[in-house]
Symmetry: C2
Subunit: 401 residues, 2 copies
Amino acid sequence: MISIQAAWDLIENSVAPGPDQTVRLMNALGCVLAEDVHCTINSPPFDKSMMDGFGIKSADFASGLRTFCIVGELMAGHTSQHVLQSGEAIQIMTGAPIPAGVDAVIQVEETKQNGSDVEITTDRLIEPHHNIVKCGESMRVGETLVTSGKQLQPQDIGLLAELGRHEILVRRPPTIAVLATGDELVPVDAEPGAGQIRNSNEPMLAAQIARVGCQPVPIGIARDNREDLHAKITQGLKADILCLSGGVSAGKKDLVPSELARAGVVEVFHRVALKPGKPIWFGVLKGEHPRYVFGLPGNPVSSFVCFELFVRAAIRRWIGLCDSTPRLQQAKLSQPFSMTSNRPTLFPSAVSRNGSEVWVTPSLWKGSFDLRATIESNALAYFHEAGEYREGDDIEVLQLH
Amino acid sequence: MISIQAAWDLIENSVAPGPDQTVRLMNALGCVLAEDVHCTINSPPFDKSMMDGFGIKSADFASGLRTFCIVGELMAGHTSQHVLQSGEAIQIMTGAPIPAGVDAVIQVEETKQNGSDVEITTDRLIEPHHNIVKCGESMRVGETLVTSGKQLQPQDIGLLAELGRHEILVRRPPTIAVLATGDELVPVDAEPGAGQIRNSNEPMLAAQIARVGCQPVPIGIARDNREDLHAKITQGLKADILCLSGGVSAGKKDLVPSELARAGVVEVFHRVALKPGKPIWFGVLKGEHPRYVFGLPGNPVSSFVCFELFVRAAIRRWIGLCDSTPRLQQAKLSQPFSMTSNRPTLFPSAVSRNGSEVWVTPSLWKGSFDLRATIESNALAYFHEAGEYREGDDIEVLQLH
C-alpha cells in the first residue's frame, strides 16, 4: 500500500502529455494553450479617442483659448486627412483615430456647441494626450502575451481575437470511458431487483469528467465474468483514459486487475493508504498512443474521491499543465473534529468564507456508501492522521469547483 | 446616473425567471434544479456488506469461537436463502445483501481459510453490525434530498441516479445573442484597414456566456446605420437575452438606444456610476415571452466587466437562483493602492491564497481599452471611492471563475 503522494508521483511519471489540436477560437474556452502567443499588432493600432467629444491642440487650451471653430467630424472606423490648425476643433467619436495636429480630446459633456463653434466649459487642467490612448499602449508587436500551458479564459479569447487568431493550437482534452462493473448493478432507468442497486457511478463520473472539460464515453455495465469484462475493457481502451468502477478489492469476483493484465495494461499501483478509496488501481497500456486505466472502488464516495484525487491528476498531466498534482489549499477548521481512521482521510466538507478567511466544516458523512452527505460538500478536507482536531486548526482542503 | 446597487435592484425586479425543461440526467451538470427531489428509496436498499470477507454471528465471536464452518458464498447482486446458524460462516463480497442470521462481516484480510473451515485471526472487538451498513442508513423514503434552485454538481447527479431519476426538471438556461456594433469593426479573421479594429468582443462575450452554461448566438457586426442595426436587433431579439456592444455612449453614431426603442424595447436604465462601463444600457421587451437587452460599452474591458456585473445578474435571476446579485467576497489588499477615479471602480485583479487568507492584488491596468492587463486577472476588486488604500485593507472582490 503506497501513500497518496507516492500515487501522485507515479501518475506524474507515468502519464505523457497528449497530442495538440487546432481549434476555432470560438470553441477554445477552457482549453490549454499549446503555443506561446506573441503580439503581432500594436494595440490600439493607432492613437485613439477614448471619449466622444472634440479634438483640439492642448497648447491652445493652455494659452486660454476656449472657443474653437469646428472643422469636421470623425466617426470610429473612418479617418481624416485634415491636419488640425491652432484654433480649430474636430468633432470625434470614441474609438476614432486621432487626426494629425490633435493632442487632446475634450469630452462632449464639457463643451457647448454654437453653430460652427464649440466652447469648452471645463476649467480643469488639460494635458497633452488627454482622453487619447497612444498606439501600442496596451500591447506592442513582439511581446509575449500568453504562454503555452495557460487555460484559456474569456479575456484571453478576447485578446487572441484582437490579434486575429481565429484558430489556435491547444492540448486535445482526453476522451474518458466509464465502465461500471458488478452483477448487482442495473441501469439508472431500471427497477432494481433483490440485492441490486442502480448504476449511479456512471452518470456521476460522466459529470465529473464533463466538469473538467473532457468528453465522457459511457460503456455501460460489465458483469462479473471474464467474457463480458474482456469485451467491455477492449471497448473502453479505445478512449484515452478508462475509468472502471468496482471489482478492484479483495473479493472473489474482483476480476478487474487480472482482466486488465490480460488486455496488456501494466499495473502501476494498487491500493493507496487513503479513506475512502483504498482499493484504487492504476495502470498503463503502453504503445505509440498509450492508454491510462483507473480501477476505481465501487462505493460511490470512494469512486468520487478517487476521481478527484487521481483521475484529475492524470488529466492535468495529459493536457500539459505544469503541476499535475491537485492543488491543496489551507482552511481553518470551523469546529472540533475527531478523526478516528488510521488511514489519511479525504473527508467531504463545506468550505465557506468568513471575511477574507477560508473556513472548512466537515459534513455529516457516514462512510464510502453515503453519497447523500456529499451533496452539501464543495471540498474534501485532508486529515493526514487520526487525532483530535480543534476549531481554528489549519487543514488542507481540495476544493471541488 | 444610478448606482451599481440600484442597477442590480432594477435587474432583479425586471427579469422574470425563465421556463423549466426536462433534461436527461446525463446532461444535467450545472443545471439549476426546478423541483424538490424527495427520496423514493432507502439507501442502501438492504443491509449490505462493506467488505469482502465472512459473515458470522457476532455472539459466536464474543463467546470465543474462532473457527467457523463455511456454508456458502454470496456475491454482490445475488441473494441467499440460507439462515445462518451458530458456528457457521458465509463468504460474502462487498455490496452483497446480508443474509438472515448474519450480524457481522469479518474482512478477508483478518481470516485464514482451511478447506471448508475459516479461522478468524483478529483479536479486535467485533460488535454487532461490524462492516455492515444498515438499510436506509444514508437516506430514507420520504426525506427531501435536494431542493429547487440548487445548481447540480456531479454528486447530486449520482444521488439522483440512485433514485432512478434518469430525467429531471431544470431551469432552461437562456439563449444569449451577441451583436457588436460599429463601422470600425472587422471580423476576427479579417485584416483591419486604417482606423479599424477586429471584433474581439464577440468571441470574448461568447466565451463569458458559455462559461456560465448558456448558449451564445453570435449575430455578427451591425454597422452604424439604422437599417443594419434594425435588422440585426430584430434577429438578436429572437434570443432570450441580447447583448449589444458599442453604440451606447454620447457619440453622434450611438444609435443603439433609439433603435432599441423603435424595436419596442423599454429602457430600464442607462448609465451607471461605474468604471469601466459607465454608458451601460438595460431594457426589456415586454410580452408573453419577455426579452432582456443589454447595451454594453464597446471598449473591451468595459464590455467584459459589465457582462460579469449585470448580464450575469440577469442570467442568475432568469435561471431562478434565489440571489441574483453577484456574490462579492472579502479579500485583503496585498499592496498599497491609490484609487484616483471619482466613480466606483471594478479593478481587474488577481486573487490568491496566503494560508487560509484570501489576498487581492490589482493588475497593472491602464483603462477600459487595455484588455491585455486582464489576462492575469481572476477577479475584479471593487473600490467604492477614491482614496489611498493600505496593504491589509479589506476589499470586496468579485471572483471570475
